[in-house]
Subunit: 363 residues, 2 copies
């Protein structure tokens, strides 16, 4: 479908990762959530001038999902029940994380909010910009892409795919004209369902056959890639593994926390976005697990609450206990920094070993 | 290690399943929790006379874990906080599940309790009885088997294994002299950890290498077995899949609920035993998820609360909404009854297909 050498699709917010994976024979896919049109233009131009003609794609949140956030105006005291604001503020105050300087606070928060709350028109504009570049793939991260967008992409020779955590979602993507689906097991970083890759992938493969399926969730090494192929997938979709690379966007303090983490430190929590999202455990996610904590607000409010009140305060002083990032259970295998190229080559080496071991067992 | 034809280990409380799996070339393992010494003797004698000399094993809860229950005397009003008793009783009363006839109630509950609360001496006696039979394997379901037991088993040529949900538990089993470990992903039925098979199996394989590992959790078909081998396991340990067979101990009403269930109806809940246990979702597990429900009691109290107050009342009238059974996420693939033999043969057929598909991708 893309003329790539190895069926590794790399989701990353980092243009360097996208370029390196595509140059290593896989397919980089740029996550463009929370990016302004100007920044998107810059990032894609940079990719085009470095990727040496190799194919790449973009990952978007489609218009329909933006609408709910688009209608929100930022006014913390009106948007958030007092109990929730007090809970987050109290948590950070008690931990000695300083409040934002009042002059900066409003500006920082407004900028964040403007990135979070695209209107449908703005996000359509983002897609237009992306389609002016030689992208080969558009992936929808939440829900099914609208038919009109699928048709527009296909008219330009661009393939369209979408993520699915249940067979019925995968079937809807197929009906809407997607070219393939990405089956996401619960062990993945970010928003996930509750069914594991081992159980989910073959169910989705069977549900949409003969449409190709990529396995996502729990894939960071060659043996897991071999398992994906054995389970009927045509390739893999990886996100977390790139966070450990020197190219990744993750700050050193968060990387250090990831390298020290075990698999069950990647917790599924509603505290960060309001929807179940697998994230590196931290003082913030722990606080929401304790008796007496408020139930997280529905999406997108919890996300805005955390980004506006929490994350800016925390990242400004890099308060270690509160630093977090979406990551999957493979974080337990991530113990040291590496390059994107080495990750791809090690995966391929171990994939070949795994396949040879399996063949030998059958002889 | 056992001279079996196919590396499928079948955990079952049902002697027929044990015999059929071993006769089909795998290895049946009888779960003997909640069995009196007399019944164990009868079951093993029955197995010996039907299994045609094929190897089989037993799965036990070792003495150390019995102690806590052994000290409990049954007195619901003393054992259980009033809030908890009222919650369970109220739930069943509201749903119209009749209370037990008072003449029977005490006797039924006492019998249940006597099965749940072995003393260490009694459980050692159980193991002695088992070792008088030609068993080839003892599996410890909870914790590491004591060194003395491992030595006693080895002296009789019996292998010993144990279940592990984390690499450090697997390492402890190795130190205690186990011959292999069973790595249990969160998608398994019954007590499980939080890490999925895709992530956990290769981590445990690497942690205890070159000791063999069986993959458990999410295995009900050949592609999942191929994935286990690709991930570095030497075979698989399956429990849930046998529940759908005509040989299984599960009553028809529960089977019907399983056939209608989706993968995410196998919920991880503390409401049944006090520890995280993956179980078919029912009105009882749902009730504990609602705001205002009590926190489940610690093990083994929650288990006794449910078995004594709940399960007997529910199963006596087969109240459909409350019927449940431990089962893994593969329940979503279980849609109709089958025989044990057909399950084994279908798994092997699909395993071969998966391996051939993988080989073809490499040519």
């Amino acid at each position: 479908m893309f003329g790539i050498d190895v069926p590794i699709f790399a989701f990353s917010h980092c243009r360097d990762v996208v370029v390196e994976v595509s140059k290593a024979g896989g397919m980089g896919v740029l996550g463009m959530a929370r990016m302004s049109p100007e920044r998107l233009r810059r990032e894609l131009a940079w990719i085009d001038s470095h990727i040496e003609g190799k194919p790449y794609g973009i990952d978007v949140l489609m218009p329909t999902t933006y609408q709910e956030a688009g209608d929100l105006k930022f006014d913390p005291d009106r948007l958030f029940p007092k109990e929730h604001l007090d809970f987050v503020r109290g948590l950070l105050d008690d931990a000695g994380v300083p409040p934002l300087p009042s002059a900066d606070a409003d500006a920082i928060v407004r900028e964040l909010l403007s990135e979070l709350s695209f209107t449908p028109a703005e996000s359509a504009r983002m897609l237009e910009i992306a389609m002016e570049h030689p992208i080969k793939l558009i992936v929808n991260a939440l829900g099914s892409p609208p038919k009109a967008l699928v048709d527009a992409a296909h008219a330009k020779g661009i393939k369209v795919a979408a993520l699915a955590g249940r067979p019925k979602h995968a079937l809807r993507h197929k009906e809407n004209g997607c070219d393939f689906v990405i089956a996401v097991g619960t062990e993945a970083g970010g928003h996930t369902g509750s069914v594991t890759s081992m159980v989910l992938w073959p169910r989705i493969v069977d549900a949409v056959a003969p449409m190709p399926v990529l396995g996502a969730g729990g894939v960071g090494r060659g043996r897991q890639m071999a398992a994906a192929l054995a389970l009927g997938c045509e390739g893999v979709w990886c996100g977390s593994i790139w966070l450990k690379t020197i190219q990744s966007e993750v700050i050193p303090e968060i990387k250090a926390r990831m390298f020290a983490a075990d698999s069950d430190d990647a917790v599924l929590t509603r505290s960060v976005t309001g929807k179940p999202c697998r994230t590196l455990r931290c003082a913030f996610t722990d606080a929401y697990e304790k008796p007496g904590a408020p139930e997280p607000l529905p999406a997108p409010l919890q996300n805005i609450l955390w980004w506006s009140e929490g994350r800016v305060r925390v990242e400004r002083v890099r308060a270690p206990d509160f630093l977090t990032y979406p990551v999957g259970q493979i974080v337990g295998d991530m113990t040291q920094q590496s390059t994107v190229k080495d990750v791809v080559y090690e995966m391929m080496d171990e994939l070949v070993e795994a396949q040879q071991r399996l063949s030998a067992m059958f002889e």
